[in-house]
Every structure is written in structure tokens, then in C-alpha cells.
């Protein structure tokens, strides 16, 4: 126990990061079940409106800040040193600091539920003046601010650490252009964190100053400006969207290549596309603000449309990787295909929302809720499970059941689409987001009923996932070093890897050193025969 609490080894820190984010995923998922139960039928009164506001605020906050974004950092912590042939991260103690800032910050946010007045209840974006002390007096909002400040500082430190590691600790032969795509995506993600999280820390600090030190940044009666809050929030918030997807593009690229038995198609293009996305994502933030009437809709619409192009490049490169391959439909590959289908829907509705006339109708309706759940749930979350099934044998040295894994995939895929597809139509039929209930008009009763049923299918799938993991530790079927025919250096060491990762490294002369070593061994064996 003490060994784990004081660990500076990147693998232990990565594991603790990922396990704690899964804990927050379960918390946020249970909150989602409360939301879906309250919305199961029109005019229900299962939870009070004030409780409901806290529930969706914590659901969004936890899913975004405590699960989808930090899981990518946890995985990067674990994988990046292995993928570049390094013994550890550049700053191991700083790494531990980041982890514990994240964990304490996360519990600070959640502890709001225990104080008088309850947790923060202004939504995950906590727009001022709603989140100002005049309107939201409770300490829950303060705990939310302070907790997220800790989380954001932890993330900034992790980004510094990851970039330093990648730039300075690569093994001999591991040139930048031989790095795995996942590691490249982490470079782009870290850059985005360094650009986007300081504005987040600023807006949180400004809100805290307004609330307790007599500031009035966002108080129009004192010359403050409410649109300023939205600008700062989304100047962080849109890059955050890509912080929550770029690492997962990396997972998908690795998984698709290995299970197609082909090299990554368009390696250079994939890297350039990641940086194009990162760059463009800094210039699209006000598409969240088309309906304010206070921004240049045409400019932000154009930049938002453009981001579809490098995202399309990613899709075509994954398809190119599968093309004429030898595709094995393992659990990670099924999740990768599920990711592509779901993320495509989320991407297409994203292009639609980038058109201001559509946004005037769809903004802050359930159409928007459907869109971002297809991106973050159908996209990132599916990629997370692809990654979990892919690297679990490496991380824990035991195998997950492939048969049950496939059941889990299908259950999750069906449940996900049953939950979120109907939400598009709810939005078109005039249902706004963040409502505690809705009238029995148009098809809202039927559509919400379907979504609630789907949510419980997802819950069942997650229970099955827990069972699969428990079963793996129960049975302890030992995992070989390279169970899938992997390409990158993490498959060249034992499962789990030893302290400081490698006893010896293979020769690195391409972006697939383990594949090259395997081919060389096969040729040598054939030569002998």
C-alpha cells in the first residue's frame, strides 16, 4: 500500500490514474442513471429540481474533468515511456504530484455533495452570473472551483512532463518520425493542454475573486461582462474537446494497424492532421456562442467547418490501414470499429452545428446533447475500451476473456445507440437540455422512454465489464509478452514490464520495431530450416 502511495514509477502512477478515473466514471454513470430515471416519462417528480441540477452538474464535470480527459493522461503516463524505450518519465516526482493533485482535486469537487446547500448546480460550464455568489451562494460551487483548479494544475504539470519525456528520453534509433502515432497524439494533446488549461485556471480564479474578494468580472451591474465568461470558458473548452479525443485517435490508430496486420496508412498525414486539428481547435471556440449574438458567426463557422478536413484525413487513413489487410475482429478491434461508426455520427452532427442557422435551432437542445455524447461517449469512451482490452494483458500480465469481451461490446454498442440516437429527435421536437422534466408533447414520451431503457442496457454492459475484469484476476491466465502481434516497443518487454521497463531493446529502424524483429526472427528461422 505504502509502496503505491509513494510511487514515482510511471507505470504505477499510470495505473493509479486510470483506476481512479474509472472510479469517477462509475460515479458519473450512476448520476446519469438518476438523470435518465427522472426523465423516463413526462412530468415525473422522482428527484427535486435542485437535486437534479447538482446531479447533471456533477455528471458532466466528472465525465469530462475526472474521466475522459485524465484517462488519456493516465494511459499516456503508462505507455509513452514504454513506446519510446525510456525507463521512466522525465520528472517522476512531478508526475506523482500531478496524480495526487488530480485525485484530491476530484474529491474536492465531489465533496460539494456533502455540504449545506449541496454540490455545484450550475452545469459543468457554470456560466456566470448563475455561478456568482448572489445566485449560487452554497460552498458547493466554491469546492467545484477549487477542485478544478487543482485538477487543471495537475494536468498542466503532466503535459510538461510528457513533452519533456518525449523530446528528451527517446531510445537510440527512436527518431521523432519513428514514434508510435499514440505518442505523437500525446505531443499534440500536451501542447493543447499548455494552451488551454491556463485560461481555464484564469476563469476559475476570476470566478472565485468575484465570489469572495469583491471582484465583478462577470457582474454587469458593476461594469462586468457575462459574455467574457463564455469566451474564457470556451477558449479553454473547445481545445478541451480535442484533449479528450486526440489520445483516443492514437489508440484507434494502433489497434486498427495491429489487427489489420498492416503498417499505419499515411503515417505522416496522421501526424500532420493531429497538429492541424490542434491548431484549428484554438480558433473555433465561439461556435459555442452563435446564439449570444455577440460573436462573428461567419468566422467561427468557417474555422469549425475546416476542422472536419483533418478529421476526415484520420478516417481515410484508418480505412486505408484496413484496406486489403487481414482483419481480425478481436474485442479491441470491434471497439475501434464501433468508435469509427459512432464518432462519424458525432462528427457529422458537429459539422451541422457549425452552421449558425442550424445552431440557432439546435443549440442547447437535446440535439446538442446527442452530438457531444456521440463524440465523447460513442467516440472517446469506445476508444478507451478498445485501449483497455488491448493493453490490459500488458499492464496486468493476465488476459481478459475475448468471448465475454465481445458480448460486452455488442451490449454496450446497442445500449449506447438506443440511449443517444433518440436524443437527436428530441432536440428537433423542441426539448431543451438541463430540464428536470418535460411536457407530454410530440414524441417526447416515447423517445425519452427509449433513451432511459438504453441507459440501463449500458449499465448492464458496465457491470459485465466489471465481471470480466474480476474473472481475469480470478483465473489469472498469464498473458504472453506480445499477445496480439504488436508493433511498438511496449510489446518488446515482459507483461507486466519490469521496473525501468526494458532489459534490452530491439533494433529501432522503423515505426514498427517489434514487427521488424518478428519478421527478422521468422526469416532467420526459415533460413535455418
Amino acid at each position: 500500500m505504502i509502496q503505491w502511495l509513494t510511487a514515482t514509477d510511471h507505470k504505477k502512477i499510470g495505473i493509479m490514474y486510470m483506476i481512479s478515473t474509472f472510479f469517477f466514471f462509475v460515479v458519473a454513470g450512476l448520476l446519469a442513471l438518476v438523470i435518465r430515471t427522472q426523465l423516463a416519462a413526462p412530468n415525473l417528480d422522482i428527484v427535486s429540481s435542485h437535486t437534479y441540477s447538482q446531479v447533471f452538474t456533477l455528471h458532466g464535470t466528472a465525465m469530462i474533468f475526472l474521466f475522459v480527459a485524465p484517462f488519456g493522461l493516465g494511459l499516456a503516463n503508462y505507455l509513452v515511456p514504454l513506446q519510446i524505450g525510456a525507463p521512466d518519465m522525465a520528472f517522476p516526482r512531478l508526475n506523482a504530484t500531478s496524480l495526487w493533485l488530480f485525485i484530491f482535486g476530484a474529491f474536492t469537487v465531489l465533496s460539494g455533495a456533502l455540504v449545506a446547500g449541496g454540490a455545484a448546480a450550475s452545469g459543468w460550464s457554470s456560466y456566470a452570473p448563475l455561478s456568482e455568489i448572489k445566485v449560487s451562494a452554497g460552498a458547493g460551487q466554491d469546492l467545484w472551483i477549487i477542485g478544478l483548479l487543482m485538477v487543471s494544475i495537475g494536468s498542466i504539470l503532466t503535459a510538461v512532463n510528457l513533452m519533456t519525456t518525449i523530446f528528451l528520453l527517446r531510445a537510440p534509433g527512436m527518431t521523432m518520425w519513428r514514434m508510435p502515432i499514440f505518442t505523437w497524439e500525446i505531443v499534440a494533446t500536451s501542447l493543447l493542454i499548455l494552451m488551454a488549461f491556463p485560461p481555464l485556471a484564469s476563469v476559475l480564479a476570476m470566478l472565485l475573486i468575484d465570489r469572495h474578494l469583491g471582484g465583478h468580472f462577470f457582474d454587469p451591474s458593476q461594469g462586468g461582462n457575462v459574455v467574457l465568461y463564455q469566451h474564457l470558458w470556451w477558449f479553454f473548452g473547445h481545445p478541451e474537446v480535442y484533449i479528450m479525443i486526440l489520445p483516443y485517435f492514437g489508440i484507434i490508430t494502433e489497434v486498427v494497424a495491429v489487427f489489420s496486420r498492416k503498417p499505419v496508412f499515411g503515417y505522416v498525414e496522421l501526424v500532420l492532421a493531429a497538429f492541424a486539428i490542434a491548431g484549428l481547435s484554438m480558433g473555433v471556440w465561439a461556435h459555442h456562442m452563435f446564439t449570444t449574438g455577440a460573436v462573428n458567426d461567419a468566422f467561427f463557422s468557417a474555422t469549425s467547418f475546416l476542422i472536419a478536413v483533418p478529421t476526415g484525413v484520420k478516417f481515410f487513413n484508418w480505412i486505408g490501414t484496413m484496406w486489403k489487410g487481414s482483419i481480425e475482429l478481436t474485442t479491441p478491434m470491434l471497439f475501434a470499429l464501433g468508435f469509427m461508426l459512432n464518432f462519424l455520427i458525432g462528427g457529422i452532427t458537429g459539422v451541422m452545428l457549425a452552421s449558425p442557422p442550424i445552431d440557432f435551432d439546435a443549440h442547447n437542445s437535446y440535439f446538442l446533447v446527442a452530438h457531444f455524447h456521440y463524440v465523447l461517449g460513442g467516440g472517446s469512451l469506445f476508444a478507451i475500451f478498445a485501449g483497455v482490452f488491448f493493453w490490459f494483458p500488458k499492464v496486468f500480465g493476465v488476459q481478459l476473456s475475448e468471448r465475454l469481451g465481445k458480448w460486452f461490446f455488442w451490449l454496450f454498442f446497442l445500449g449506447f445507440n438506443l440511449t443517444f440516437f433518440p436524443m437527436h429527435i428530441m432536440g428537433l421536437e423542441g426539448m431543451p437540455r438541463r430540464v428536470v422534466t418535460y411536457p407530454n408533447v410530440e414524441h417526447l414520451a416515447l423517445l425519452n422512454g427509449l433513451a432511459t431503457a438504453g441507459a440501463f442496457v449500458i449499465a448492464l454492459a458496465v457491470v459485465l465489464f466489471g465481471f470480466i475484469v474480476l474473472l481475469a484476476f480470478r483465473k489469472r491466465v498469464p498473458a504472453p509478452d506480445d499477445p496480439w502481434g504488436g508493433y511498438t516497443l511496449e510489446w518488446a518487454t515482459s507483461s507486466p514490464p519490469p521496473e525501468f521497463n526494458f532489459h534490452s531493446l530491439p533494433n529501432i529502424s522503423s515505426e514498427r520495431p517489434v514487427f521488424d524483429a518478428r519478421q527478422a526472427a521468422r526469416r532467420a528461422a526459415e533460413g535455418v530450416a
Binding site: 429540481s49 441540477s53 489489420s260 496486420r261 498492416k262
Partner: protein, 217 residues
């Protein structure tokens, strides 16, 4: 059955944009779904299958799959931009002006020319009365936190922000009653911050206005 039932001149433009994007989306989705699913079927691994060809780029195709999306989004930008400008346009001399103030948790509709004021509560939902076929200018603001004025039948919303005044035109084309909601979360009674839009004939509107809002519609 048409997908949208636009109830204003502006809503027709907006539903046109929806239609263009939905059509393009369906085509793109169909092609992409096929390109994602088919390889997994056609080139599924078979027992004893050897190593597939190890190609990793195709510059000619790169030009296609960068060029086509670029042209597509450029093509979509044009109708989107034109419609946005038309919807945002403000008529120089509207027939009716209504000052709309959002507050926690209802709406105040004030007709400055006739002096009619309607103030709602979450329990007594206020009604915004508009003449059919005439252009009404809405001046929108908020008395406390951010809100948003959304009438799904008009396919349109605009935020009501404290310290800001937003202006937009509504030109209803159908007589009838439509739902209006607040679509920016504003606290516990956000879901009950509703209003009605009652679109009436010119004559009925004049009668209602001359009676200072007392005549039944």
C-alpha cells in the same frame, strides 16, 4: 411527411439549411459507413492467411480525400452563410416592436408602442401575441442571469443576456399557438420557464392591442 413545420419566414430559411445539411450528411454517412464496415467483412482474417501487402501510402488518393472534404465544407459554407445573413437581417421599419425581458423564471413582454405589458410566472405562462404576415422586431435582454428565447416552431433561439440587448425579427406565416422555452440553464425552475406564442390575424391583433391586451383572442 415533412421533417420541419416552419412557422415563420425566417424559419423557412432555417429549415432549408437543415435540409441541405441533412441531405449531405446522409450521403456522407452512407459512403463512410460502407468504407468502414466493408473492409472488416471483405478482408476478414482467414485461417492460414499470410501477411497482407504492406503498403502504407498512396499520394494520389491523399489528394482526393483531402480535396473532396475541403470542397464539400466550402460548398456547405455558402448556403449556410447566406441564410445566416438573411435570418439575422433586421427590417428598418417593423410593424410591431416587443421588448422581451427574461428573468428567473419567466418572461416579460412589453409592447412599447401600445403600452401593453405581459408578465408571466412559472405557473401562469405568459403569451407573446404576434400578427401573422407582419414583421415583429424583438429586443431581448435579461434581468438577472443568462437565458435563451427559443421557439421550436420558428427553429430559432437567441440568448437573453444581462447587460446586452439582442435584436431579431420574427415574421410568422401561420396562425396558431406555439411553444416557447428557455434553453439556457438558469436555476431550479429552468424547465418551467415557458411561454406561448400566439399568432393571430391582423384584425385580431389590432383589436387585442387597442384593448390594451384585455380582449380575448
Amino acid at each position: 411527411m415533412p421533417l420541419f413545420h416552419p412557422a415563420s419566414v425566417q424559419a423557412r430559411l432555417l429549415s432549408g439549411d437543415w435540409t441541405i445539411f441533412l441531405a449531405a450528411s446522409l450521403v456522407v454517412a452512407a459512403i463512410m459507413f460502407a468504407l468502414i464496415i466493408l473492409p472488416a467483412i471483405v478482408w476478414r482474417r482467414r485461417p492460414n492467411s499470410g501477411l497482407p501487402p504492406q503498403f502504407n501510402k498512396n499520394p494520389r488518393w491523399s489528394i482526393v480525400y483531402i480535396g473532396v472534404p475541403l470542397l464539400l465544407v466550402a460548398g456547405l459554407f455558402v448556403p449556410s452563410y447566406i441564410r445566416q445573413k438573411l435570418v439575422d437581417a433586421i427590417a428598418p421599419s417593423p410593424s410591431v416592436v416587443v421588448d422581451v425581458t427574461a428573468f428567473r423564471w419567466s418572461w416579460r413582454f412589453h409592447y412599447p408602442h401600445s403600452g401593453v405589458t405581459i408578465v408571466g410566472t412559472p405557473r401562469t405562462i405568459p403569451t407573446l401575441v404576434l400578427p401573422v404576415g407582419e414583421t415583429t422586431q424583438i429586443n431581448l435582454t435579461s434581468a438577472d442571469v443568462d437565458h435563451s428565447f427559443w421557439v421550436p416552431a420558428f427553429l430559432f433561439k437567441r440568448d437573453a443576456l444581462p447587460g446586452y440587448e439582442n435584436h431579431f425579427d420574427l415574421t410568422p406565416t401561420r396562425i396558431g399557438e406555439f411553444r416557447g422555452v428557455c434553453s439556457q440553464f438558469c436555476g431550479v425552475d429552468h424547465a418551467y420557464m415557458l411561454f406561448r406564442v400566439r399568432v393571430v390575424s391582423d384584425a385580431a391583433f389590432a383589436r387585442w392591442r387597442n384593448s390594451k391586451g384585455l380582449a380575448t383572442l
